[in-house]
Symmetry: C2
Subunit: 254 residues, 2 copies
């Protein structure tokens, strides 16, 4: 990972490609994983889209997202079957040619006999001109990086290996730091006080998240503070802690 200045912001989007996610047949496991991973290395995930296996939809989404963010990560649609159209769609979006890439053929030949390298398997070797391959230790078929677009497999295990490999080559920015507080009060009781802290610190974003405790106790609320500046984060967190304590004293809640 390259060294970067503390204040630098590096952004990303994810494009999930696949009818199976939209039909509900497959439950996506990649968005949450990539979100955690990028947060951990200092890349800010700003948008996610899920589109079907339709070339025009993929091309339009790739172009909208790659132009807007530092990086675009795609998942899905790079296998050997007719519905795997991601590589061709990305080439079309970028305006580059695509064909069978000898580097990818060599990778497949480490696992397959040459006589088994049929037309379908060669489809997995179709790589846009000018792309770098993104390898993985689980399957022979590579993903690729072209410009700021990183194309990865949809199978979580393979995607995760590709992500770990490719992130090493990317720019990263200042890491987002966070603090989580258990509110111990209803959101409606502390919302005003929380907004005041939020307004005081321009470089801290504060969210309040209710969740239903299925093991009893009904709703619990967590307050999450996020900032790239440790001093601001600490100060805002102290303000929220004090606000909650004052409010509990006032309401007679322990």
């Amino acid at each position: 990972m390259s060294e970067t200045a503390t204040a630098k912001t590096v952004t990303a989007a994810i494009l999930v490609i696949g009818d199976e996610i939209l039909s509900g047949r497959t439950k996506d496991q990649n968005i949450g994983f990539i979100a955690d991973y990028l947060t951990g290395v200092g890349i800010d995930l700003k948008e996610v889209r899920i589109v079907p296996d339709i070339e025009e939809e993929i091309v339009n989404a790739v172009n909208a997202l790659r132009r807007r963010y530092t990086y675009l990560f795609t998942t899905g649609g790079i296998g050997p079957t007719h519905d795997d159209i991601t590589a061709d769609s990305v080439a079309k979006a970028m305006g580059v040619s695509i064909g069978v890439d000898e580097r990818a053929v060599e990778l497949l030949l480490t696992r397959l006999k040459r006589e088994d390298l049929n037309e379908a398997r060669l489809r997995m070797c179709r790589i846009p001109a000018g792309a770098d391959l993104v390898t993985n230790p689980i399957s022979a078929a590579p993903g690729f990086k072209i410009g700021n677009v990183i194309v990865m497999a949809g199978v979580p295990r393979i995607m995760q290996a590709m992500l770990a490999n490719v992130v090493e080559t990317l720019e990263t920015g200042a890491k987002m730091l966070s603090e989580t507080l258990e509110a111990g009060l209803p959101e409606g009781a502390y919302a005003k006080g929380l907004e005041e802290v939020d307004k005081k610190y321009g470089d801290v974003s504060i969210g309040s998240y209710p969740h239903f405790n299925t093991s009893g106790g009904g709703f619990k609320n967590q307050i999450v503070l996020r900032s790239k500046d440790p001093a601001s984060l600490a100060a805002a967190t102290a303000d929220v802690v004090k606000m909650l304590a004052d409010l509990k004293a006032q309401l007679g809640v322990s």
Copy 2:
């Protein structure tokens, strides 16, 4: 649910609103649930987007999606805290006014004393002009439906109750039917045969999905056929079954 002609297509998009999903802090559980639910009632989910708690992002996504699909479902951002800006953003996108809705106030007063109905809690009663409320039995605060946009909570348990209530009022189309086959062969072996069946049936979409079997056996592949026409689905499924059997005989695979 209204009766509809067999061939009718009703489409939808989902817009997930929330920094906590993009940061990885919260793993979305709503997309997969809504996808399954809509597929089950005959509404075709065509696109999903996840955006942060930023008004301009929400407004732009709401307008892009509501204009393109029969329905747009949003999740998240309708609580009492400062980061809950969905209702105001949807009102802005639709070009309508927004204010405290007396119907929503009445709902909250079934759970709260009037003296506890502070400014923050009244925020949950801000409903765009002309919207219908979408109630739920778990929390008092309602979602709403305005035009073709349905605004729901982010907490899965509440969202699910709102979805069940609102779907009763929506148009639905012909249900997508599906058949799933265990391939028992590598994708690269059957890709050509599968593409031929796919081309033969214009009204059947066929996908091939590898998944890694963590309990051993490596990758397994499933073939999923989807159509709204039962006869086409049955014919295409029979063709794929025969194609796989012929291939296994040819390759000497049992």
